[in-house]
């Protein structure tokens, strides 16, 4: 299994641990990630807020690179996934936009490049049973709240989630790793996204609500698939709500028995190591 790996800008800075853990679990599982250092930013919220065509042309440039490599794209970042999928849909369905973008990005769209979130690639292409079989250190005793947020699931016609109000893939994955996914009702609520930077108080209100609800549901940690969610959960919470959050890839890594977990957990603003140590027998 081989993909064009699109980390996105956050995974080179604020979400480094997401990048490390994603690469490591893919290596361990035998999934080959090909990277072309010419990839550019997807434009994120800023591009679609100010300039519609730019918000399609930037992801299209990356689709062009993947097309050149003859590979489908996999990206851990929920936000990049969303932008890439949108651009792909416009290229596929809107002839006028396609002509404009083909001219701007100097390529001929073939429609052959598929776009997957890493979560979906693991669940539907690689297979959860195969992941379960590779688990060496089950996360027994760990109770988590799976947090999808917005961009991985919405809008469903772009993301392909058939049950956008009740997604289950992360819960199923977490169960295969041996952890317990608690039921809670804030799984697809918004964390505030880029408002974490421009209106931090607004984000704090949303994040506090999420953390409180997760705690009430009996979770010891949250599991995310988005760098924006993760940084808001860690940075914008009120200080007393110190529930750790994991990228789902980090939990997979621990369960696969990857010892390098030391490399990245110290990067968290809410250190999850005490929790992990309380669960896993030493060594």
């Amino acid at each position: 299994m081989k993909f064009f790996y699109y980390p996105g800008c956050s995974l080179e800075a604020t979400a480094k641990e997401y990048d490390y853990s994603a690469r490591m679990i893919c290596r361990q599982l035998g999934i080959e990630l090909v990277e072309n250092d010419q990839w550019c930013c997807c434009g994120a919220t800023s591009a679609h807020s100010l300039d519609h065509l730019l918000s399609l042309a930037l992801p299209a440039r990356n689709i062009a690179l993947a097309q050149e490599a003859g590979l489908s794209i996999v990206t851990p970042c929920a936000a990049c996934f969303n932008r890439l999928k949108r651009a792909d849909r416009e290229l596929r369905e809107n002839t006028e936009i396609r002509r404009k973008i083909e001219a701007i990005c100097e390529f001929q769209y073939s429609g052959d490049v598929k776009i997957y979130s890493l979560l979906d690639a693991l669940a539907s292409l690689y297979g959860l049973e195969k992941i379960a079989a590779a688990v060496k250190k089950p996360l027994a005793g760990l109770r988590v709240a799976c947090y999808y947020g917005c961009l991985l699931v919405r809008p469903p016609e772009i993301t392909g989630f058939d049950q956008p109000e009740n997604p289950t893939v992360m819960e199923t994955l977490v169960a295969k790793l041996g952890a317990e996914a608690r039921k809670w009702s804030y799984r697809t609520e918004c964390c505030g996204a880029s408002q974490g930077i421009t209106n931090p108080k607004f984000a704090t209100r949303l994040v506090d609500q999420l953390l409180t609800m997760a705690m009430e549901a009996g979770a010891q940690a949250l599991v995310t698939s988005c760098p924006l969610c993760q940084s808001n959960l860690e940075m914008r919470r009120s200080p007393h709500l110190n529930l750790p959050s994991f990228y789902f890839t980090e939990l997979v890594a621990v369960a696969l028995g990857i010892p390098e977990e030391k490399i990245w957990f110290h990067k968290h603003l809410v250190d999850p190591r005490p929790l992990l140590r309380s669960l896993l027998p030493a060594g």
Binding site: A15, Q38, A57, E106, A193, T198, F202, K267
Partner: protein, 181 residues
Amino acid sequence: MRSPDLYPALPEKVREKSGQPIELCFQCQKCASGCPMGERADYLPSQIIRMLQLGLTERALQSSSIWLCPSCETCSARCPNGIKIAAVMDVLRAMAVLRDFAAKNKEPVFHRVFLKSIQNRGRVHETLILIQYKLKVRDLFSDAVTGLKMFKRGKLPLFAKKVKNKKIMKRIFAGAAQAQG
């Protein structure tokens, strides 16, 4: 709600640019009830759509709602009439900036800094844009402690990778600007 638009063609423009059937809204409030902005913004998404129906586009363009909206897409996913309200919000934001309705808002300042970074480097230099944004809105200290914690953890690197092919980035930005203009 008096004072209809000076530009009566504006609602039609929003409709055309967003491709959304704004006229279908029957004010069921489904979008509003799931909207995380709640009472924080001047108007709920349902009210923004109503304004557009009534020809009060300028009021929508001046609202805090269009900038506080984090594009969570809850409204779009739930509207029974298939109106992608989040797409309407995008059009309103772009229009507000082009027509100078957003001079006092700090959110477009952030978006411009962000896009400039992509234009210059092909990627966003997260450390640099945070500092540039904070300088522009004169708020260097509110996040200093968190920033330092991030820096110590290597999450705000001073050096970030760039895309070597500058020409293609130039072309993408120029091409998009031309199409918008």
